[in-house]
């Protein structure tokens, strides 16, 4: 099953809603589009809504870690606002929760970023 990515830009914040299965095959095609989008729109912060992501493996971790690094360089933050238990376990295992902000909804993610902007 493919991975569908819905992107929404609000100011310098990029919201990504991901759906389906995020593996190496999908990551390959998503990565270049994503970096382009972030560069062109001078994105500073990233909000991830992964509630409909049914599967993710370490390739997905690599994709998110890669975006985190560039966001970090720009002094921004990555906020995770929803994910399945399976995806959360991978984040835990890899120590991602130490670098990601976590909020319970897209709204709260946005208002948190508004505060730190």
């Amino acid at each position: 099953m493919a991975c569908k990515v819905e992107a929404e830009i609000k100011g310098n914040i990029l919201l990504l809603r991901m759906e389906g299965e995020l593996d190496h095959h999908e990551v390959e095609s998503i990565r270049s589009e994503l970096t382009q989008l972030m560069d062109k729109n001078e994105i500073k912060h990233l909000v991830l809504n992964l509630s409909n992501l049914e599967f993710m493996d370490s390739s997905g971790l690599g994709l998110i870690l890669g975006r985190y690094k560039s966001i970090q360089k720009a002094g921004g933050n990555v906020v995770l606002c929803s994910a399945s238990p399976q995806v959360k376990r991978l984040f835990e295992m890899s120590g991602m929760f130490r670098i990601l902000m976590v909020e319970l909804s897209e709204e709260r993610a946005f208002s948190r970023l508004g505060a730190v902007q």
Binding site: M1, E21, D23, H24, H25, V27, E28, R31, F55, D57, S58, S59, L61, G62, L63, L65, G66, P85, Q86, L90, M93, S94
Partner: protein, 146 residues
């Protein structure tokens, strides 16, 4: 019921999803928990992805071999490539180690396999290929009433 399945497929990244689905279909007959099924899909995805991108460096004209067997609810999954092999297996298995940071690899593949399975064994010979063998005891299920 014991069972076994072997398959061979092309080293194209589309087959990462295919391998996951085959593994899930094989395991599904044993009433695994949702967590177990998700673990199985994840480790198959890791091992097959590694065979494709590391073993064969992304070349698509090679073959990946996968073998699954279930004996007394112990699941064994073997994923094998005839690719370039691993020089230092121990180092490769360290969390966060990756030889391909240029590909934004996380270096978490083997760590995930270790966490999700009861046993992971890697046998590799540089220039010959790599075989990853993983085992997992599925939780027992209550006898079904017919």
């Amino acid at each position: 019921m014991n069972n076994s399945l072997t398959c061979t497929f092309k080293s194209i990244s589309e087959n990462e999803a295919l391998a996951r689905m085959i593994a899930a279909s094989f395991a599904a007959a044993y009433d695994p928990t949702i967590g177990e099924l998700s673990d199985i899909k994840t480790v198959v995805s890791e091992a097959v992805t590694n065979a494709i991108i590391h073993g064969y460096s992304g070349a698509e004209n090679h073959e990946v071999y996968m073998k699954m067997s279930m004996v007394e609810r112990v699941l064994t999954i073997e994923v094998r490539d005839s690719g370039k092999g691993i020089l230092e297996v121990e180092k490769a298995m360290e969390p966060l180690y990756t030889s391909r940071p240029d590909m934004e690899r996380s270096g978490m593949g083997f760590t995930i396999m270790d966490h999700f399975m009861d046993g992971v064994e890697v046998v590799s010979e540089p220039g010959k290929g790599t075989t990853v063998t993983m085992t997992k005891q599925l939780t027992s299920v209550q006898a079904e009433c017919h």
